[in-house]
Amino acid sequence: MGLMRRFSSIFKAKASKTLDKYEDPRETLDYSYERTLEMLQKMRRAVADVATSRKRIELQAQQLQRSAAKLEGQAKQAVSQNREDLAREALTRRQGIATQLTDLQAQHDQLKAEEARMVEGSQRLQAKVDAFRIRKETMKANYTAAEAQTRVNEAISGIGEEMGDVGLAMQRAEDKVAQMQARSGALDELMASGALDDASMSSDRLQAELDRDLAEPAVEAELARLRGELTGSSTTAKQLDAPAEDAAGAQAPTEAPAEAPVEEERR
């Protein structure tokens, strides 16, 4: 037997098991309707799960993009400061992030497609639920055992098949979400403890080194100034404490006799 027919008969056999049949077809109709409503709710929850998963990936991607931009800036700064070693390090780390981003983008696209399919699926199911509700009431009202049996069975196996189909789509989406969650969990761990977010951590170290290089001449000048001031007059260093003690010093000059002249000098 061809695949098409095998797939069909197994699918339909499984779908028909999703609905119990009652002695009175009218009861079966009501039961089927209830099950379909439940299915619709499950489907909506599944859509929300997929959306949550997708948003998590978007947040991770934004975080990685920020790290990449930061590293790019640092690489430029390093080049302008003639620190090729640091530039190389920044670019290497940025490369690693770019690979992760490509991977995330692919996952994101997959989830987005899954989400769109499920939204479409739940719209189809909603349309069927609405039609089924009306039809089952008509069938119950005009019920005559002989002709109803076939029509009821048709409606029920039709709705059962739709539920089977939606169920399959949900299963697929749930599997995908589980896979993605495992992967983004791994990425979170990587960001928190390992190579990746460490990239932005050590990009801070990188920044520190760049800043140090840039600051070096200024620091040297400051040092020279301080040395000069210290040797020139020991009182200048005291200026740092002066404002806080200003008022206290004025009110209780006896407690800090050495500082009074300093304040005078400043004014």
Partner: protein, 92 residues
Amino acid sequence: MIVRISGEGQFDVPEGHVDELNRLDDDLTKAVDSGDEAQFTTALEALLASVRTAGEELPADWIGPSDLVLPSPDATIHEVREVLGDEGLIPG
């Protein structure tokens, strides 16, 4: 003849088109047997395209059983085999 494409909807396909579907189904069966994923995707796409062009899509509020149910366009060999296995259709 009513044909369902999984995850897509139901189509009303003229009876005269069945031979064509059977021919395309042979290719699909061979692909699943050989386990060649690329060949499978091509064969499945051909089969589904044929249903979409020859058939007319039924409205979403149409309720009735299908004579044939086909895998969704992005199904993999693994997924098809899973349906053919013992897994239930409705999770939870």
